[in-house]
Amino acid sequence: MSKILKVQHLSKTYRSGEHDLNVLNNVSFEVGSGESFAIVGPSGSGKTTLLGLCAGLDTTDEGEIWLCGQNLFELDEDGRARLRNQNVGFVFQDFQLLPTLTALENVIVPLELRGVKKAADLGKELLTKVGLQDREGHYPSQLSGGEQQRVALARAFANKPAILFADEPTGNLDDETGTKIEDLLFELNKEQGTALVIVTHDLELAKKTDKSIRLRSGKIEETVG
């Protein structure tokens, strides 16, 4: 299985006032194509920082990240943005739909950024797939939490990404809705062969993935699978 994400000796330090705060310390792991991968750990263990770095949302001076064959830290901000647009999908804990765009408009933004023609038709298909075909003209504020996360899933899979990063995708949802979203996430993962990297507190969710790592104080404490 070819490696879609390679993280090697990654460290991240933040300057906090007069002190340095070491958030990640010599972290290395790999994720293969179509594989599902979970990053677990308590609050403050560095999970979200690691996800941000893997997706090219932030940079560091120590270590390397190879995403889809590209060394992320050799690209500038716009280069990383292009890489994300072509290969990466996102699902956030608080959904992060653009509040001024309708459900359909939110879904097709990544497609339009790639210059895909008939983006609206594809967007409608995706909304149908997540069961929201009747809600395409609704704004995020008019949708429930579960519906918003389904729109976010449709958006994340819109450009058929090679890898999808999900930050606590069910963290803001009740158990029943959360389970439905998890099922949909894995279903799309299988269907499109997209690698899945999930940051979560939820050990049950982590168990559903092919591999996982547990972080504590910025270090890998345990690797499973």
Binding site: D58, Q70, D78, A81, L83, L98, G115, G145, R155
Partner: protein, 845 residues
Amino acid sequence: MGKHNTGFSWLLKMAWRDGKASYGKLLLFVFSITLGVAAVVSVQSFSGLLKENIAKQSKALLGADYLIESDKPVNDKVMGIMDSLGGADAREINFLSMAAFPGNNGTKLMEVRGVEGGFPFYGELETTPVSAVNDFRNRGALVDATTMLQLNLKVGDSIKLGAVTLPIAGELETVPGSTSVFGAIAPPVLIPFQFIESTELVQTGSRVEYKYYFTADEGQDMAVLGEKVEPILDAEEADLDTHLSEARRLGRRYENFGKFLNLVGFIALLLGCVGIASGMGIYVQMKIKSIAVLKCLGASKRQSYLIFFVQIACMGILGGLLGTAIGYSLQQLFPILLGDLLPVDVDIVLSLQSVLLGLSLGLAMSVLFALYPLMKTLYVSPLQALRVVQETKSRSKRATTAVGLGIVLFVFSFSFWLLGDFMRSLFFVGGLLVVFLILTAVARFFMAMLKKFFPYSWSFIARQSLKNLFRPQNQTLVLVLAIGIGTFLISTLYFTKDMLLEKAAIEDSANSANMILMDIQNQQVDGVSNTIKASGYPVIDKIPIVTMRVETLNGRHVEAIRKDTTSQVSRWILNHEFRVTYRDSLIDSERILEGGWVSSVDADSDVPISVSSDFADRAKVTIGDAVTFNVQGRIMNTVVQSIREVDWSRLQPNFSIVFPSGVLENAPQFGVMTTRTADDKGSAQLQQQLVRDFPNVSILDLKRILSLLEDILGKIGWVINFMAFFSIFVGVAVLMGAIYSSKHQRVKQGALLRTLGAQSSQILKMIAIEYAVLGFLGAFMGVLLAVLGSTLLAYMLFETTFTLSWVPFFVILPAITLLVFALGVGNSISIVRNSPLSVLKKEKE
């Protein structure tokens, strides 16, 4: 790796999608820019139309293609020139004189115009009845229609001008060559030319104008005519006026006023832009999460920046278009506001130039002022989508400086385009920058001091309100700027108007005159004096006047100076017949600037004279310089002994040249007397008696002139206030924008406070205190800056002392504070209307 595949259409689409959900906020930006553009477009377009209409109607204003005029009977040489031009088509003699109306004992100072020939050749002599246009030419008079109404005269009544009595043939509605402003002081009366001599009113000292009207051949070039004839006419103390030069002269007179109004409008626009800059800052702050998400989804820095750039550009274009439409409608009001101050009827049309001006101003100003806050979008990290991160990158210093310079350069270029003068534009932009900087400094200083000396012992409500003034994303700076500049403008205009009126006002003391009697012949002095005293009024001043012309300046004959093309000496000095007085002391309106005053002389040596500063400036003479005068044929050598500053705006006889006593007493002279009448009835009775006994004496009723001046200043003041109120309107728009932009934050804060137990009334009190403080601070600074600005204007422009008027402090300041308070509280009521749960739930979502 490929480039982003999106084009401009996607940016437009995204800008539209985002914009339609935020249209409330964006419309406030549009509103701010619209009013400013409307102010500039209305004035600029109206000035252009006025100029165009003056040019179009220039022949009708003059009544002919060109005329040759002189203040003395023309000599053979001028006659020869006129003959070479084909001879005059019509001629006119005019002067000011008292007219008596025997039917009702009325009297009035009028401009007597004796006309002959087919005048006017262009424009119309409008009369009631229409047939009077021809009827009066044999034996009759056309009397100004307003005068007829005021004095209750009717066609067929008589008018007595000196020794001649004529029947009134008709009411004169309009006549080319008489301006309505001057016409209000001395309205016109037209009589046949042949009766002028028999009026016996053309005497020593009478100011008489001789005019010869010409119609030009088709295609005759007025400029060429001017070049050929003017130098010869100049030498003979005559002038050529073509319809083109008349249009230019009139155009210039209104241009300055237009430029001033344009600047007032431009300030309103700048104020709107300050609102845009501040509103955009808050708008971008609210969009940070969205920008971060867009970047997560793969949008580049440029793309996320351009989405909002396109939005603001569209708002600018929309504001520009709406502003142009409103400006076009507004200019319809100017003819109503200015009334008969306008020399021509102005046809209001919408020009392409106005539309382009409005569009480009709306676009350029909104984009320029939004650039700085928009730069923030470039530095939003996509990581913000995952968590709150502290901003590490600040705006590039180079880009910030470039934006600042761009704004200053644009404002300067536009001012230069409006004013056409480098230094004035520099002063305008500099002055504006100083006002902006002072207000900014005061707002910042206020916040810093409040933070440093925070009154921790005050009540919870007071402390919370004061904290709002320096919390993050506070509105203190932008509101102090908007309120301060609006108040500054209104107060400065008020102070200036007050200053001008006070300068012109007649002192209300027993010693100051309210009536001036002119053209009193030497033999009439005792008679006039006795008539005044017999009516029970004092003769305050008896001023002797001798007419003379400059013969040489420092030994050079005026003829030689005229021929010298490099000479800086004004034509007024070389051609004018000066009215000179002699006395032994200075009067109230004079102050010695240089040299020393000489009260009297006996010797036959050069006479030490005193000249006004503008005479010295225009004649290029200074202390000790020799000036020779031709005093009605006798040459008199003088030397400049002192230079005086003369306050010409005082309604009293003032003189450019004053001789000491003991020199001119025996020269042919006439006189001016001043008196003070008790009331209108007494004034009318005295005037009737004087006109009956001394028909050549002209009487100026200063009370009437002052009320006329007040009327003119009132009309101009209306237009200025109208424009200044634009600044207040824009200020209100900016204020509402600022309140609206920060509403989200206030709603959340209000909901949290109420959750913790605060009552609605307590929250409203907090808001009320905050806006009252902001309103007072901004308005107070505005009035203070206006005092500073008006003092500078008084010393530098009006050359007078500044007298403080209390109205801005006791009326404008509380009114604006109240307005800000009411708007602030009124717009915040919805904050306490929403239930805390619904607000917090919405916040969570």
